[in-house]
Symmetry: C2
Subunit: 241 residues, 2 copies
DNA sequence: CTGAGGAATTTGGCATACCAAATACCAACA
DNA sequence: TGTTGGTATTTGGTATGCCAAATTCCTCAG
């Protein structure tokens, strides 16, 4: 089958430079189901138990007030995203990552964020970097106030996301968001304790300094080492599998 | 709605440590459709024309001898993967990336591959590195023999993929494969000419040397700079948009 | 009471039908 | 001849039904 054959040619001519945005286009049940499922998976303690976590299409369809078809499409998307796995005649289950996989994710995260830091030293405005420092102060404050893991981790990830956005690369942001999603799912205490143990705040301060100094190599190295340290810590202190 | 509610509990007990792989499970129409579509998109010259490339569900269904349902699921997956975009009442179109997006991809690639190089210096066996050098020689030879862009580019990407596999991280491999897919879709001559202009082979030789010397920093830097150079070249010499 | 076998149910994969929106076509009018 | 308005057709979104495989449950023999 020639690959070109599957392309159909519709639509008469090109536009006349008049750019009018397509109106909202109400979101389909498919995307609603996708959002609902992802939300549900997010709030789920995936590693809380060892039994397989199974989802039921019909049940979800009823809850959403839609038929199985759009739900199945949403499931297919989440399967592609690596969050779900559908086994024929078995069920749709939430994927649990092995420790090795989590470590690979953190290493990839280190790669992407350190590149983001490098790019940020070259592209971010002084104002944007100043905002990061402001965020850092706020973050540091909240860290002292509350000791709850969730809050702390959230603020921590917020810092990293803000840093990555400084690079101006929406792709780096998207890819790391996806990785964060998986890493965050491990609600293992040691991940957060470690973050404190390794003086995360001090690291962050140094990183900001490197950005302000526009020192690409140093910013990159600091970010890389900071995150790789997390990988090593998970490797030796987190029990999964 | 509580997120836990969507989890159904079936199956009596847990297994007893006996791990038996589920037998092949003949691939579904969904996965067949996915593979067929991806194959088709791969062989398609996406940037060859400016008209939107539209796909027709029913047409594809007929060609595959299946109904629209599994095809739509495959489309949903490819949409999630960023290769397709379905606009309601409009059609399913192959996504064209802007130059800015392509550059972001190459930068992300640089990040991932340079991390792979770093990890490879720590984890790859001497034998594995030796194999890369062997591959390089073969590659270099084929480069001299043929001047055809496709072959050259293929061998070039093969080198990079082999290097990434040395890291032992299947995630880095998967992520870069995905990026390669998009970058490869730009069949712009300058991409390949550039690769020669910047003495790609010489760079590769240096990279292998760094790996053999187990010099993490140098290997990382060489790989990063090599690929970022490609990004800069695309930025200034490739016409898209 | 145990468990082996089979029937009933559950579940995901797939096909089909219908609908609304958007396009394409066409005829009538200026 | 060019434009316009309406109609037919196309197309993606969704609902529904059937099927085979796998599970669960029930029954009955030992």
């Amino acid at each position: 089958m020639s690959s070109k054959e599957i392309v159909s040619k519709r639509w008469h001519g090109g536009d006349h430079g008049l750019t009018i945005e397509r109106l909202p286009a109400k979101e389909s049940f498919k995307s609603k189901a996708y959002a609902a499922l992802k939300e549900a998976i997010t709030n789920m303690n995936i590693y809380g138990s060892d039994e397989p976590m199974l989802l039921d299409e019909r049940d979800i369809s009823e809850r959403l007030g839609a038929s199985r078809t759009p739900v199945r499409e949403a499931v297919a998307m989440l399967e592609q995203e690596g969050l779900l796995r559908a086994v024929p005649r078995r069920g749709i289950m939430v994927v649990r990552r092995s420790k090795a996989e989590i470590i690979e994710m953190i290493e990839a995260w280190a790669a992407l964020e350190s590149m983001a830091a490098r790019l940020a030293t070259q592209r971010a405005s002084d104002e944007a970097i100043a905002e990061l420092r402001a965020l850092f102060k706020e973050f540091d404050l909240s860290r002292i106030e509350r000791d709850r893991c969730d809050e702390y981790s959230g603020a921590n990830i917020a810092f990293h996301q803000a840093l990555i956005r400084l690079s101006g690369s929406s792709l780096l942001a998207a890819m790391t968001d996806n990785l964060f999603f998986h890493v965050r799912a491990i609600r293992h205490r040691t991940i957060f304790e470690m973050d404190r143990a390794q003086r995360s705040a001090a690291d962050h301060r140094e990183i900001i300094s490197a950005l302000e100094a526009r020192d690409a190599d140093r910013a990159e190295r600091l970010v890389r080492d900071h995150t790789l340290r997390l990988a090593r810590h998970v490797e030796s202190h987190v029990q999964l599998d």
